[in-house]
Symmetry: none
């Protein structure tokens, strides 16, 4: 790194640098997740990332960083600072770095105008800045936003500028940048696979594959936990080696594995509901509609999800699901009895094969000695009858976390039920 | 940035650089959250962060980065690479960067030995490496791990090396590094304020405060857009200066501003519902419970949110809300007529002052020429009667985004209604 311009660092066949732009990043107000996402995508096509840099919205700082990175790397990926406003300085900084003036690209101007027509909104003049690219550079179409990307060559490196908004960044990178970089000839390609699990703790799952995770071993097997979903990542030099590890991890963890790559619990459950031709409805109290949101998050979920009720107030539980008011006045709404009634009535009301109910204490207030924040009761109604399940979802969790975990438990109950039926 | 060694970048009184070490970071396997945490802590004591850099476990790369950062900054915070293993190279790299040999610090050797005695474990010889510091440097005790930190001065900057493990890093930073940096005399402390807006595009809002966003102006005013919420950030040298800009932005944007700092639309709406003592219920189709989730995301929302129905299937709309089946068979479920009926029936069913309904095409499938993906109809029922509202929520959006935007439109309709009532 940081060798004089001209010289190249050739540790690997091809080397990239990632530069993230934004004072909200350097100030710590926002955590940069783009760099990690880009680095993983680059690894998949055999590109090694030599450094990440994060700079504030400061034209000189960005220009210096781009110049430096271009001297060290075969490709520089700059993300952020392409917006229409005065503090979006990436365009001007790249022009500085490559020593060229900016020109307005007619095609980009049309693309931006089309985008606004499409949205039926008038285009502010400031958006025309987004059609500017360095003299020898070209634009990259933004298929899901107004900010086009930039492509320009300098000191032997290709410089790409892409949006900072993760969704726009990811789409543009996959459509326009990745194919160009993948075309570069390389000595190594890395295969990255992800196995997604739910139903046990991170340490517990890690123990079952500890030998595969020995430092220095090939393939590299890593584990991460996010919102109670445990992901194993296999980084291998060949698809065959990756497949072997994925198969072994699946073998050892069995039903704890619900999918691979980006699969969510609701995707796995939805797939099973489809295969079993089973319909479902939900009755929610503390989750307030979040379980229905998860289930309908899956395209085509209307094939198995018919609907639900959000019975937040006592009256709603009584009027829509016939839960006796005096029962709740006596024992509260967080009990197995109430959860069971909710599920049974919901199943009847929507005429579904299955119905799930959730009632609990989401917090932060409302907890008691005997019913603390995080206590959640679940009901599962099927042709076999109604089962109720109690969970104390970790303490010290935020309101959102309690609700999110409760939805995952509910989805897990559905999955376990369907796994049982399928055996 | 990146000026020749010796010269200093004095944009602000005191300037720090953050360097994170680890191939797991540059490869994207782990997202670096330490940098953001450190930057926020530094801002609180008036330190401005000029750049973050992330380097792999490569001694030359780390040494070059430290040398460069030390030339640009008053303090350099290196985190990671202090472990006992062969790929922990931060100690050696810092020695390179400051041009000094490493020496074993007797005190650190005792601390490390004590730590292992404490854990009742024999100390591997390799851990003795962790007692090494550059000749003119000193160690920083690690009160919750074996890896001590390092403190050494070079080219006018203080260089600190702290562990990469977040828990150990945070404790050591707070106990030993923060007090030293806070003691540095400073001309400024930074005040950061955020103003949150909804109801117009980023460029449109930016134009209304363009003069405040001129590069180089003090305070710094930045704008970011995330999921249709526009945030203005004011970074000022004094609370008074920040207050003045916040007041001016609020004056110019009027009702587009719904809150400050972390406030969400549902917080603002919930506050108004509380103040007006107004209750609400929801009838959701395409959002599948997401609107209920938003409203109940607010602690204490049971004071105004009574419940809702997720009428995803036609039958559910007919059975729970009395929407005539033949009407939907003829015109489909995405229309003003259906939205209006849903809201009116929902209000009656839950006996609430207000009821909101959402029915639309979330996609990715199911769109037609006349009813494309992103078309959503809303109904708002109140004592004044029922109003219906049509929105074409941007094209090219994901299913999640269409649903998220639809919820925001619904919350905005509630807010506008309550603003009207409050005038």
């Amino acid at each position: 790194m940081f060798r004089p311009l001209g010289q190249r660092c050739m540790l690997r066949s091809v080397k990239a640098a990632i530069i993230s732009i934004g004072t909200e990043l350097t100030s710590g107000l926002t955590v940069d997740t783009n760099s990690a996402w880009l680095a993983l995508k680059l690894a998949e096509i055999g590109w090694d990332v030599g450094m990440h840099m994060t700079l504030p919205d400061d034209q000189t700082a960005i220009a210096d960083a781009v110049r430096l990175a271009a001297a060290q790397s075969d490709a520089v990926l700059v993300n952020g600072g392409l917006g229409p406003t005065a503090d979006d300085l990436t365009r001007d900084a790249i022009a500085d770095a490559v020593g060229q003036p900016l020109r307005r690209d007619p095609e980009l101007m049309q693309q931006i105008e089309r985008h606004f027509q499409h949205m039926g909104r008038p285009m502010p003049d400031s958006n025309m800045r987004q059609a500017e690219v360095p003299e020898s550079g070209s634009g990259i179409e933004n298929t899901c936003g107004t900010a086009p990307g930039i492509r320009v060559a300098s000191s032997g490196a290709m410089i790409y500028a892409i949006p900072g908004v993760p969704r726009e960044m990811k789409v543009m990178f996959k459509l326009s940048v990745l194919p160009e970089l993948a075309a570069t000839d390389q000595t190594t390609r890395t295969v990255v696979r992800t196995i997604r699990c739910y139903g046990a703790g991170e340490a517990e799952m890690a123990e079952q594959v500890a030998d595969l995770m020995t430092p220095g071993r090939e393939p590299i097997v890593g584990i991460t936990a996010k919102h109670a979903i445990i992901s194993f990542r296999v980084i291998a030099k060949s698809a065959a080696a990756a497949d072997a590890d994925v198969a072994e991890i699946r073998r050892r963890l069995g039903p704890l594995v619900f999918g691979e790559e980006e699969t969510q619990l609701q995707d796995a459950v939805g797939q099973m509901l489809l295969e079993h031709k089973v319909t479902v409805s939900v009755a929610e109290s503390c989750t307030g509609g979040m379980l229905g949101t998860c289930l309908t998050d899956v395209p085509g979920s209307s094939a198995y999800f018919l609907g639900g009720v959000i019975t937040y107030a006592y009256d709603a539980k009584t009027d829509l699901l016939g839960v006796p008011r005096d029962l709740m006045m006596r024992d509260g709404a967080v009990s197995g009895e109430v959860a069971g009634m909710m599920a049974a009535a919901c199943r009847e009301r929507f005429g579904t094969d299955l119905a799930v109910s959730v009632t609990g204490v989401a917090g932060p207030g409302g907890g008691t000695e005997e019913k603390p924040v995080g206590l959640v009761w679940f009901g599962l109604a099927s042709s076999d009858g109604v089962s109720t399940h109690k969970r104390l979802i970790g303490t010290h969790l935020t309101r959102w976390e309690v609700r999110d975990r409760a939805c995952k438990v509910a989805l897990h109950l559905l999955r376990r039920h369907l796994l049982g039926n399928s055996r």
